[in-house]
């Protein structure tokens, strides 16, 4: 079938390898050596790869084919808690409170399963940020919990305002039993990185309103803005001291799917519970006991959390790869800003972190009018974009944004060439679109 393009480029969701980013060599060498241990004895692989693979294999019972829960999990949990203690500069982490998952979405789903109460009224509610992929997504819908939207401030770089949380909570209480607040930091697709003050406000809010706090920190490795720093919710909570630090029930979620690793297909992630009732944690264990997690994903997670040290043979190359990814991202963001912000009818906010850009569309009235016949205007825009150029981006309405403002989300974890092509197709389409509907 003839089309004006050879292939579809999908940047509507965060799938780095599919859009040209390369896996980290060290991770894959270790995984391959664990899969085929003959490689450990040969000198094809660098020494540090062989050593790491050997250690990991011993920890998981000698084969990546074993059920991980019968043998490997305690070791992985220890790795995670060591990493967290280091990351949070001494705030202790106990491996008994770490749960290995398939990834962040899965972790979120497990938490929701713990909350819901079947069909009994009132339904349990979770305050969920808009815009975000999780709002109205299947995990929430299928779980039986009600997603209560709270709107991030599009005029101020997508910040959270406590007043907005208050409003959302008040309206939620009329229709459900709100029990948790879900935050994503760094934000996705917003690219907003929360300040410590903002995080402290959130913690105070959940403490006063008696809510659980779920923090998705999947993009913690990707910081682009000058002077931007990621602090974990756990660290902020601990440093706030009593009464918050021993009362607020916090669940932090992370994975190897994003960041430099981008290993979404391998399914490695974890969540950490802080201040949860110990008997509830036992029930969480019971829920998890039905699951069997892929070992390969946990290997990827382990390498991510326990990276190479200076002096090791693969260290330099590893650092080069990270540097290259960083440079690619900065380049992509700069280019995207250059190209898109200069077009009429699109405006871009600078992003500080995360893996997406979220430009705003200022659509002409004619387009909005025509769209409304069948669908939401930004969806209309994205459908035409896909049909005409083979470029797939995500409409802001899919992420919960209400009528009136229109956005598209495009992922920036792509190779430089892919980003050029994305911008070429998008730029060309957009100019034509604005002309056609002027």
């Amino acid at each position: 079938m003839k089309k004006p393009y050879n292939e579809v480029i999908d940047v509507s969701r965060d799938n780095p390898h599919a859009t040209g980013m390369k896996p980290m060599s060290f991770v894959r060498q270790v995984i391959a050596s664990c899969i085929y241990p003959e490689l450990i004895d040969s000198d094809k692989m660098p020494l540090d790869v062989r050593k790491r693979a050997k250690t990991l294999l011993e920890c998981i019972g000698g084969s990546v084919g074993c059920y991980s829960d019968t043998i490997g999990i305690p070791i992985m949990r220890d790795s995670v808690s060591d990493f967290l203690t280091r990351r949070d500069e001494g705030v202790p982490s106990a491996s008994g409170k770490i749960f290995i998952t398939h990834g962040s979405d899965h972790g979120f789903g497990l938490l929701l399963t713990m909350l819901v109460r079947g069909d009994r009224s009132p339904l349990v509610g979770v305050l969920t940020p808009v815009p975000s992929q999780d709002f109205g997504n299947a995990t929430l819908v299928a779980s039986g919990a009600t997603a209560v939207p709270y709107y991030l401030d599009g005029q101020q770089g997508w910040r959270l305002h406590t007043e907005e949380l208050q409003r959302a909570l008040r309206s939620a209480r009329e229709v459900c039993d709100p029990i948790a607040l879900y935050v994503i930091n760094p934000g996705d697709p917003t690219g907003h990185v929360q300040s410590r003050e903002s995080m402290e406000e959130i913690i105070r809010f959940v403490y006063e309103e008696k809510l659980l706090l779920f923090a998705n920190e999947d993009h913690q490795d990707i910081l682009i803005g000058e002077g931007c720093m990621f602090i974990s919710y756990k660290k902020v909570l601990a440093e706030m001291g009593s009464p918050f630090s021993d009362a607020v029930e916090l669940a932090s979620i992370h994975s190897a799917s994003k960041g430099f690793m981008g290993e979404g297909g391998l399914h490695g992630g974890y969540l950490e519970l802080v201040n949860f009732d110990p008997s509830v944690q036992i029930e969480f264990d019971r829920l998890i006991s039905l699951l069997v997690l892929p070992i390969i994903g946990q290997l990827a997670l382990e390498v991510m959390l326990n990276p190479l040290q200076p002096g090791e043979p693969s260290y330099e190359h590893y650092q080069e790869e990270i540097q290259h990814i960083r440079e690619t991202l900065v380049h992509n963001v700069t280019r995207a800003f250059e190209v898109l912000d200069s077009l009429p009818g699109i405006s871009c906010e600078p992003i500080n972190g995360g893996a997406s850009m979220f430009p705003r569309l200022h659509l002409p009235h004619t387009a909005i009018h025509q769209a409304k016949e069948e669908q939401l205007p930004d969806f209309f825009y994205c459908s035409r974009l896909l049909e005409q150029t083979g470029l797939c981006v995500c409409p802001g309405s899919d992420l919960g944004l209400p009528e009136g403002t229109y956005h598209i989300r495009l992922c920036i974890m792509t190779s430089v060439d892919t980003m050029e092509e994305v911008l070429r197709r998008l730029g060309k389409f957009h100019k034509q679109f604005m002309k056609d509907f002027s």
Partner: protein, 552 residues
């Protein structure tokens, strides 16, 4: 019978009045029975239960306060406020026995003296953990997929490289780290369909009917989610064989489906009898809406391989009664006994002619965790759906598509399993040899186990025709039964605990799988290496003799 729970079952839509309520009794064997009760009694029990829980919760909170030193503040998420279904979930295979086994391992590490030097985990079907070797060809292909630079390495055979390249071409960006389409990588689904066609003598298989999943368990739970609906008397019931693999009961508990038990006949080698299916179904129709029949062939924990006649009978029964068939066939290569053959449900269905093959709704499950591969850690699996209503299938595809795909490394593994070396290819000879060795070893251990156990006084062990387990019936003296019951333990649970403490051997008590009232069993895997297996069999015989003596 134990009182299991109270359920506020039916709210009149819109008016929020309780129409009906019942007490749920847990039957030995794991089934449930519902008895309607007056609303007043229900409310009384509910209040009493809540007050008990509150007392318990306040106690917990008190100690939390003491520990945390925080001021009077309860937890947001408590045993009382959380999802009650999760609390009911039990999965014996990884339950209390395993927890204790892990504890004992820690104690051994710390140097605590015991009458044994290691814990032998004969409770779960984890072949590699028990020393089974992975198949070389499989690991070569997967290593190539994980680190494609190895494609330049001439240590790897061409046929492995060919398959790796095919798989990588199906992956986004040639990487197994990219998310794939949720239903699974298309070229792999096509390979699965070809495999099924070949296996079933040419009966066509369409890759659009194949869903790659995270092990078979994931696909089974997905189908159950699709099936379970209704309320009270119209709540979906699912027929499962007793003894059963407790994933089914655990999933039904979590999803609030109704479990309908049908008993396999221990005296007839765990055979399935249609009369028993009918009895069970008729009784179930009193309190729920039976919609599916699950069957595991070869069986877990029972190890029987169903005869072709039996499979035809089940298909006929499913057609007559309007039931969807769920055929769990993960052990399809594990067939040992003389005269036993694996017949896939799909093949038999189609060979019964269009009267059945165009009507009966069938879902078949397979996995990479068992058979000769034993690759549990990869989480590879698939289901094939046959004769589903097209609109339902669209819903299934939707349900699957809003989740993430199954792990891509597991999908890759499944591709190798369905696309093994062919005669003439470089790896064919080694592959065939390794595969045959694994299966022959299992067959030998199956025979050894059956013979051994049948020589133990008080044991009756059916032939292990297939799968990986033995499920002997054991004798527990009345004195032991009484002691167990007084301690609130199932007698075979007590037996297995004592066995664990005395010998370090971890098994799963039969009560975890369901069994006829008054009978006791345990499930043991036949996976330990032969010498270790002999040791295990000896130790169990010794323990059993002592046990019978102690409780005579």
């Amino acid at each position: 019978m134990w009182f299991w729970g109270v359920s506020a079952v039916i709210f009149d839509k819109g008016s929020r009045t309780i129409n009906d309520a019942c007490l749920i009794y847990c039957l030995p064997g794991g089934g449930v029975e519902l008895n309607p009760i007056p609303i007043s009694l229900y409310l009384y029990i509910l209040c009493y239960t809540i007050s008990l829980q509150q007392r318990g919760t306040s106690a917990a909170n008190m100690s939390q306060k003491e520990v945390n030193g925080s001021s009077h503040r309860g937890k947001v998420l408590t045993l009382e406020t959380m999802n009650q279904n999760v609390r009911q979930v039990e999965y014996a295979v990884r339950g209390p026995m395993v927890l204790r086994a892990v504890q004992i391992e820690e104690e051994l590490k710390k140097g605590v003296k015991k009458p044994f030097t290691e814990v032998i985990k004969a409770n779960v079907g984890d072949a590699h953990a028990m020393g089974q070797k992975p198949i070389t060809f499989i690991r070569q292909v997967l290593a190539l997929c994980a680190y494609p630079a190895l494609l330049e390495d001439d240590k790897f055979p061409e046929d492995a490289k060919l398959r790796a390249r095919r798989i990588l071409d199906g992956c986004g960006g040639q990487s197994i780290g990219a998310y794939s389409a949720s239903q699974g990588i298309e070229c792999i689904r096509k390979d699965v369909a070809s495999y099924i066609e070949k296996r079933d003598g040419g009966i066509p298989s369409n890759h659009e009917n194949i869903y790659l999943s995270t092990g078979a368990s994931d696909a089974i739970v997905t189908m159950l989610k699709l099936l379970i609906c209704g309320e009270g008397r119209t709540r979906t019931g699912v027929m499962i064989s007793i003894p059963q693999y407790p994933l089914y009961s655990a999933a039904l508990t979590e999803l609030q489906g109704v479990q309908i038990n049908y008993y396999l006949d221990e005296d007839k080698c765990w055979g399935l009898d249609v009369g028993e299916l009918r009895r069970s179904l008729t009784a179930a129709r009193e309190h729920c809406n039976p919609r599916a029949l699950c069957i595991i062939n070869p069986g877990n924990p029972t190890g029987q391989v169903q005869s072709r006649q039996c499979i035809e009978d089940v298909i006929r029964f499913a057609k007559e009664e309007g039931l969807l068939l769920m055929a769990d066939e993960v052990y399809q290569d594990n067939v040992y006994a003389e005269g036993c053959v694996f017949h896939s449900f799909k093949k038999v269905l189609f060979e019964m002619g269009p009267e059945f093959s165009s009507v009966v709704e069938l879902v078949s499950f397979h996995s990479t965790s068992k058979c000769y591969m034993g690759e549990c850690g990869f989480r590879g699996g698939y289901m094939e759906v046959v004769n589903l209503d097209p609109e339902v299938k669209a819903q299934l595809t939707k349900l699957v598509s809003v989740r993430l795909c199954s792990p891509v490394s597991g999908q890759a593994l499944m591709d190798v399993v369905v696309n093994p070396p062919q005669p003439g290819e470089p790896s064919y000879a080694t592959f065939t040899k390794e595969r045959a060795a694994v299966l022959a070893d299992l067959a030998e251990k199956a025979k050894l186990t059956e013979e051994s156990f049948n020589n133990v006084p008080g044991f009756h062990c059916n032939p292990v025709q297939g799968a990986m387990y033995t499920f002997p019936r054991i004798t527990i003296p009345q004195k032991a039964i009484d002691q167990a019951k007084a301690a609130g333990q199932a007698p075979d649970q007590m037996y297995c605990m004592k066995l664990l403490e005395t010998t370090g051997i971890c098994l799963v008590p039969g009560s975890g799988f369901g069994q006829r009232e008054g009978t006791f069993h345990f499930r043991m895997t036949i996976l330990p290496p032969k010498e270790k297996l002999k040791y295990v069999l000896e130790k169990i015989a010794e323990f059993n003799a002592q046990f019978l003596q102690d409780y005579s």
